[in-house]
Symmetry: D2
Subunit: 392 residues, 4 copies
């Protein structure tokens, strides 16, 4: 017995539901790469990125996923042997740091806790001890989808300033841009990066890096540069140089359509929508947790991501529930990964997602909790509804 | 403030949400109409219709909407001056009867009640009084989307038989086929018809009529025949004759994809899915009705449609609520029409619709009831959830 | 061995190549039929039809093919027993006349010649003999795709006027509107009709009828009216009445996109494009005919359609050539039909077709003539190229 | 005046015309990256690449363009300071060599001639002088789209063997795979790479690298490795590792559809189709060159690419002609680039291209030569037709 047939929801922390408008914009003939409509599309995308990142920095578009953007950020600004300080709050800053090791960077982890955000004071303390200035860059994710943590980038910048340290601040906003406020220039971020497939509602295959003035300066002496990622080549006068080769046209047409949707809604409205849906989700989990096994992985609301919610299952196997929501309800929710692998679920609420999709998803989970016999408090969906009713 | 951006739901009693698979099947080049893949598609569609109607009768495909199918049913079997008996249970059988008047049929209404299904005993009684056999056909809808009534076609047939009357039984299944059991041959229906855009999940523009043996016989003497609707011409040997001219290719490719989806799910499973979603909807309305203004239009569960639910608002204006669900939540629900115009809402749950869409829709309505201050009992969504939890 | 893989061309006299823009406009969710974007689309389509027909008459949109439009034209203006005069110049006016017979009209054929256009003098002569005014309507096609003839509608109107006859002039422009000049009001046409799938570049399933003042007047007393085709109902105030039921939304969105393309190109430019491509095609056939078997069916250039060219094969079987162009080259060309069945080919050059498609098609035919050993003069493609070179 | 409206052709050396089937395969919802249909698609793509490259080597799929694949080939097999020998035959091997310089490789150019293919004897001679074995890799393109040269990879391998040199042979097949025979294993190629957007008919954004056994061995000591391109990471057990992060799903679904089309046609048939279309193009240019200004850039037929033809304009400005074909005919042809910039045109005939597109394109060029007054011999299209007629 299935109640699946109907619109299916992809409620994982990326890739996310692609709007019809974006898919339709991609369903078109290829065009010349030297002249015509692609040139204007590139301009629109670059300007749109500056608006998204809230920055007057230099944006770069890569035919690559987010891991490619990691390389781009590092290789354009650092040299072999440089040390990067990785601020742990889950899986992804660590992974970025591991990536740094391959071409010859040194990586030091500021150990964190998967149930908490990065502690800015700890950052300041570590940097104060770096008398020699060995640390050339600090790597942090705004949101870690493995833990559901949200890091306070502005506070981390202030901590770096307080420590009087001049490392570059590099921020991965893959799981947050277009969902959660980000203010590159106001916050003093040197390099920020993201991907197309989460808050930006575009199929995966594009990633974006934006360089502030100090990163541009650092680029001049970086010796890790590679041809494909290199900013210098991409700064050249020819259109194809902006992509170091053939532009990924169809993805660009889709991304442009997504930017137009965000523009039409208003970026602040997009942030507010995500905030409401995230809080509704947390309220539901809170209700289920009453006298039951479930618990939010991040307990501090101020450290919780508004784009993804990670739920711990208290030792119960989440696999049957995920199978139920997917096969009986047509709702795909994420499993936990990394250190939390097999211990819970990850509910994505990022990108092209609205209240009824979120409430439908929570309904599927509540049905699934009942069906699979996982002990839980009653009324999760009702709690989410009550919250949204009060917030609207 | 809006929480609309995300997948939008079209929860009206038709047209309904078109699956991606159907839209994709329509996004293709035109093809020759004399040879090639279209020929096989026609065969698949005709065979699929027989399976849907549960009939070995002769199916016809019209480039037309459901009103066109009404004409086709009447004009192929009746003659000027013939009388049809229309069984009222809402708006649509009446409209069909009105349509019959234009080319010169006489129409008599067996008056009904918009809050009840057709009473088979009343049918039998009226037919018994037709000593002269003036009534040549009985027209009835299986579901009337204006009232939300479901008529018991098998019982009506039995009533006709009990009256010993030989009028043709013509059934409009536009709002029910592919949602609710229909057994043309087993129930003794002479002509049945439907459209593409409701339970069959295809864009509007196609309609279907199927003729049983008595209808085929009646066709021989019918003098209302028109060229475009004429079965005789469509029975001809050439492929284009099946459509009396150019086949509506893209819609056919879409319809074929929809048939394949129904086949994959299993028609009985499709019926069961609709039954569960309809009952969940009624449970929600029931909860809202506790101590409040709302009420199901059809109170008898045995007379309620599983494809659409009509809700009365007890004098409260439903327009602000519909605006709220549409503009704030991205959920379009129907307004009431005809004699009920302005008095309530119509919630479609037909075609490509699943539990999470239904629960999301009920959530939007519950939010809207709060927002617009319509008095209602609490816990509608919870009641729907509880029901589905028990049924799954 | 095949050289087929690449863009395929559908060069038949309908349905025609559907532009990407039209298919893309159709790839979208269904919408409400009572409010929202569909209402504006209807307005755009109706206004666009007036521009296409060059008329201030009343346009009607049918979910139906062209045969449905035939019925609509007749049933809305005539009564049982009325006589229609059909002007033969191929297959299609005859078929329209045959259609008229089914609901009870009398049909008289003004016999013509499949190799010539209608002779206006013969029309005048026949009408002068109709002292009793029995003939209520004259039916003619502007282009007959079976013969390739183009009829001079303005001259036929003048002939009717010269005969002092007041029959309605009804013109089928299915194979010409959007390809060849048509001036409904200036020429004094009373009813004109067309379909979506030829010059109008939209998938089949829509047809259009437009009524001038005399047709509107005739409608008042017509007794052939049927519900689905009825203008009176469609003149009603509700949006759904314009379609007598559910509007065929997706086809309408596609048609609107097609109208925008025609508007962007300019209707006169569209006509001119068709004129050049048609003449290029005739030049090619002329060259092939030198000392060979091929011949244009319509020898008089002034009677030749600019939307389709019918070529006689002088006793040679055209089937292997059509198979070659289709299977080896990916070019589908039409076979001849009706009285010319099996005797030649029909080359469509209507709708979304440009010089390179036409020259590619002629190239495929020239290759096919060689391959299949049909005797023909050399240099058909070259002749077409030379003509276009001189005309551009 | 334009004859443009109709199917437009993109006849440049990439990106190429994307088949409807590929675009349709991309028009679908995103899916989970950890389970479900994407896993099988990855398998199909990897196996398909082995078939395309004719190799049992290890294939890698990158979300990147061809320049990214260049980096992947180099960084996975070489170390800082290593020397690569670039075999010049146009622009692209040089560009690859320049790319090698950025991360610290030494580049030596074996100077070539833009009007000739690489001379295997010169390769052998240079390698014989490399007593110290400084040259670690030989870089060559199978086809250079800037010159139109085709290089004989098998002969180059033999030359390397004859010189007794053990450099890796790395071949860029971006402009040839899926168009022209390539036999990685039989010819002894160590690394081959290509992109999605030329012969493989998929939108740009994917590139592919395949490693033979010697490359796999070299990888173990390569110190240029970067995270994103790294084969070791991509060899890991998790599905996402194959893409080093989120797979570019939609492009993969498109690529899979393209592979199925190639499989259906048969790879040898695809090669043969390209051979015929290329020769037809050269015949046309030959005819135009009679007593005129035009000339093939590559005069030796054995050194000519079957995927692109470069034509020199003898001092005449090609810009007006390109504008004419594009704006009047809807055919985009390429301008020459690099050392040939402004001196001629590049006619793409790769990927989803058939005889009628090629003949239509040649027709547009012939019309344009007349229109823009460039002196040329007559009968180019006729020569192409004659050739195809004889070859079919």
């Amino acid at each position: 017995m299935t109640l699946r047939n109907g619109k299916e929801f992809l409620m994982i922390p990326g890739p996310t539901n692609v709007p019809d408008e974006v898919l339709r914009a991609m369903h078109r003939p290829a065009v010349d790469i030297y002249e015509g409509p692609l040139i204007e599309t590139t301009e629109m995308c670059l300007r749109g990125l500056q608006k998204l990142f809230r920055s007057s920095g230099k944006p770069y578009i890569y035919a690559a996923n987010g891991h490619g953007a990691w390389d781009a950020a590092l290789s354009n600004t650092l040299s072999r042997g440089d040390k990067v300080l990785v601020l742990e709050s889950g899986r992804f800053a660590l992974a970025w740091g591991e990536a740094a090791g391959i071409p010859g960077l040194q990586m030091e982890v500021l150990q964190g806790d998967w149930r908490k955000a990065v502690d800015p004071d700890a950052v300041a303390a570590r940097l104060r001890r770096d008398d020699a200035g060995d640390i050339k860059a600090v790597l942090v994710v705004q949101v870690d989808t493995a833990s559901g943590a949200w890091n306070d980038i502005a506070a981390i910048r202030k901590a770096m300033d307080a420590a009087g340290h001049n490392a570059l601040l590099m921020v991965d906003t893959i799981a947050s841009l277009g969902c959660i406020p980000f203010e590159m220039d106001a916050w003093g971020v040197d390099v920020a990066l993201t991907g197309s497939q989460k808050g930006l509602m575009t199929p995966p295959g594009l990633s974006f890096v934006i360089a502030g003035p100090r990163a541009v300066e650092a680029h001049k002496t970086a010796d890790l540069r590679t041809n494909y990622m290199d900013w210098t080549f991409r700064d050249g006068p020819e259109h194809y140089q902006k992509y170091c080769g053939t532009p990924p046209e169809h993805l660009l047409f889709g991304f442009r359509a997504a930017l137009e949707m965000i523009e039409a809604e208003g970026l602040e409205n997009v942030w507010h929508r995500h905030a409401l849906l995230a809080e509704a989700t947390r309220r539901a989990v809170g209700a289920w947790g009453q006298g039951g096994a479930l618990e939010l992985n991040i307990l501090d609301p101020l450290a919780s991501s508004n784009s993804v919610t990670v739920v711990r299952f208290g030792g119960h196997d989440p696999a049957p529930l995920r199978q139920f929501t997917r096969e009986t309800c047509g709702v795909t929710i994420g499993g936990t990964i990394g250190a939390l692998s097999g211990q819970g679920i990850r509910i994505g609420h990022m990108g092209h997602v609205n209240a009824v999709m979120t409430l439908g998803t929570l309904s599927a989970i509540e049905l699934g909790l009942n069906k699979t016999g996982i002990p839980h408090g009653r009324g999760g969906v009702q709690a989410a509804l009550d919250y949204l009713g009060s917030a609207l």
